[in-house]
């Protein structure tokens, strides 16, 4: 009997057998300008030599699974002979879903897992619950933790006490990686070069140059300086996908502060964009989204919980999800939460080694747990009792 753990994200799927390692694979399909007539699924993106103008077909909308035909194509690919060669009758699956998932999505998911693929058993769970499970396993003396999961579609702040999710404290900020990339695309297109079609390239730019500022207005001042003094400024060489396969930052000593470069590369000059873009998860109101940022929402969420628990939450803030990888993210969350909480509370912010795969690791740990067999719903159970057994057993 094997267990397949699938953290089914809106942009990437984190997948692997519980006795093996994890792979991060795009959970979507692509179409390319250069390869007409072909739709690429999941990791077939590696076959696309020129990903400029890449067109995305995503199974998720606002973080919820709505496009089932796309999702099934991706899953067929992941489970099939190209990748994991799943022996469904002999495999249990741990699969994640978003908080407050809609009933009809949950039922569709049950049907597809048990009736179409015919998995031996399944466990549907929130990705944050897996992260919390891992955190409690690693820090067995802690009673509470609060998970910040900042992904592609949105950011969730979820308190857990002794492994149980506290639904009243869940807080969602509608800012995620997609919004950041789209905003960066928008401002670059307005200020220097039309890149609205280049989601793939600009996402790479975002990952390569953006960082979280520790002192926002000071960085703004530095970014306005001329010449060498402007330590924020970067020149990013865009890929042309023939000689330059991947974009990169020009090394500082090769930067030409005064004017144009003689070499023919296409350059993006980035100043305040570098930190103003990630700043949106800290101040969504900067672009007109009237919601709290992460530190404020963290404090808001904890303040709505029983008073005697509050110090435990501030001591155990866990950052997961791709957005938390921006340099400076952890320090900034610490700094802001520290300044918003009374001094007699300890504040500690933990960023795991790999924030993207942290919940997958949690799923792996959970599948090795002696109680795991009690938590899953087997296909026989489902065929006997239908959706209600899933609703009963899964803590969703």
């Amino acid at each position: 009997m094997t267990t397949l753990v699938l953290d089914n994200g809106a942009y990437t799927a984190k997948i692997g057998y519980s006795h093996e390692n994890v792979s991060v694979i795009p959970n979507c399909q692509f179409r390319s300008k250069t390869a007409r007539l072909k739709t690429f699924t999941a990791n077939q993106i590696d076959e696309i030599k020129d990903p400029s103008g890449l067109f995305y077909i995503l199974p998720f909308q606002k973080g919820y699974l709505v496009n089932w035909d796309v999702q099934r194509k991706v899953w067929d690919h992941l489970f099939g002979k190209e990748m994991y060669k799943v022996d469904f009758a002999d495999t249990s699956i741990v699969i994640t879903e978003p908080y407050f998932n809609f009933t009809s999505i949950q039922e569709s998911m049950n049907e597809i897992l048990f009736e179409e693929y015919q998995f031996h058993a399944a466990l549907r769970i929130n990705a944050g619950s897996l992260s919390a499970h891992k955190y409690f396993q690693e820090n067995s003396s802690e009673l509470c933790c609060i998970v910040v999961d900042s992904g592609y579609s949105f950011t969730h702040i979820v308190p857990y006490c002794r492994g149980k999710k506290m639904k009243d404290g869940i807080c969602r900020i509608n800012v995620g990686g997609k919004l950041l990339t789209n905003h960066l695309k928008e401002i670059i297109s307005y200020r220097q070069l039309h890149v609205m079609d280049e989601t793939y390239v600009i996402n790479q730019v975002k990952e390569d140059v953006c960082y979280v500022s520790q002192d926002f207005y000071k960085d703004m001042e530095v970014a306005q300086l001329k010449g060498e003094e402007n330590t924020v400024m970067r020149d990013y060489v865009l890929p042309d996908f023939s000689t330059i396969k991947k974009g990169f930052c020009k090394p500082r000593e090769e930067m030409n502060f005064s004017g144009k470069y003689k070499t023919g590369e296409q350059i993006l000059r980035l100043t305040n964009e570098r930190f103003a873009v990630p700043e949106m998860v800290f101040h969504p109101s900067d672009i007109g989204i009237q919601e709290m940022g992460i530190p404020e929402a963290l404090v808001y969420s904890v303040q709505n919980l029983p008073e005697e628990m509050q110090p435990h939450f501030f001591k155990n803030i866990v950052l997961t999800g791709g957005n938390t990888i921006f340099p400076g993210f952890r320090d900034r969350v610490y700094k802001d939460v520290r300044s918003l909480t009374p001094t007699d509370f300890d504040v500690s912010v933990v960023q795991p080694q790999n924030p993207i795969c942290y919940s997958w690791e949690g799923g792996k740990l959970l599948s090795e747990n002696p109680d795991f067999d009690e938590m899953v719903v087997t296909r026989e159970d489902y065929e006997e009792n239908g959706h209600c057994i899933c609703e009963e057993k899964f803590d969703i």
Binding site: R31, G53, Y64, R172, M196, D197, T199, N272, E296
Partner: protein, 154 residues
């Protein structure tokens, strides 16, 4: 009856169209919606004829097993084709009790709004009279009026 003299600046102000709050909010919502889009460009396959579907399927009536599968597909489309908005309405959250998707959304920030120049992104102290966008200097105001003010290009 003598004509009243008005300053050039006041005259200009009268001519300029000023958007009301509702319109400004609508424009902002449109911008935010655009930020949610998966792609800006059109599907590169959209103009191509759907070859596989146009071809007549000669042998599909021969096998009853195959036919069953086909109806299953149709059932699938009906049952699983729902967009986010339809799902949200179906769930009927406004009347349900306990925490849910709508109640979990972060409330507005208590911190004061910060303002940035719509052109260059640096802190701004001025507001465009017509559309309410922010700008930081005369140069940026010029760019704004030429490119974005009262029109939305992107």
């Amino acid at each position: 009856m003598g004509e009243k003299k008005t300053s050039a600046r006041a005259q200009e102000a009268n001519q300029r169209r000023i958007l009301d709050r509702a319109t400004r909010q609508r424009r902002l919502n449109r911008q935010l919606e655009a930020l949610e889009k998966d792609n800006f460009q059109d599907d590169p396959h959209a103009s191509l004829p759907q070859l596989a579907k146009r071809l007549p399927q000669f042998d599909d009536s021969a096998e009853p097993g195959k036919k069953r599968k086909k109806t299953r597909g149709d059932h699938f489309k009906l049952r699983f084709r729902k967009n986010f908005q339809a799902l949200l309405e179906e769930q009927n959250l406004s009347v349900s009790e306990g925490p849910n998707y709508l109640s979990a959304c972060a409330p507005p920030s208590k911190l004061p709004q910060r303002h940035f120049c719509a052109v260059c992104g640096f802190p701004s102290s001025y507001t465009c009279v017509s559309c309410g966008a922010r700008y930081c200097c005369v140069r940026c105001l010029g760019t704004h009026q030429e490119t974005r003010c009262l029109k939305w290009t992107l």
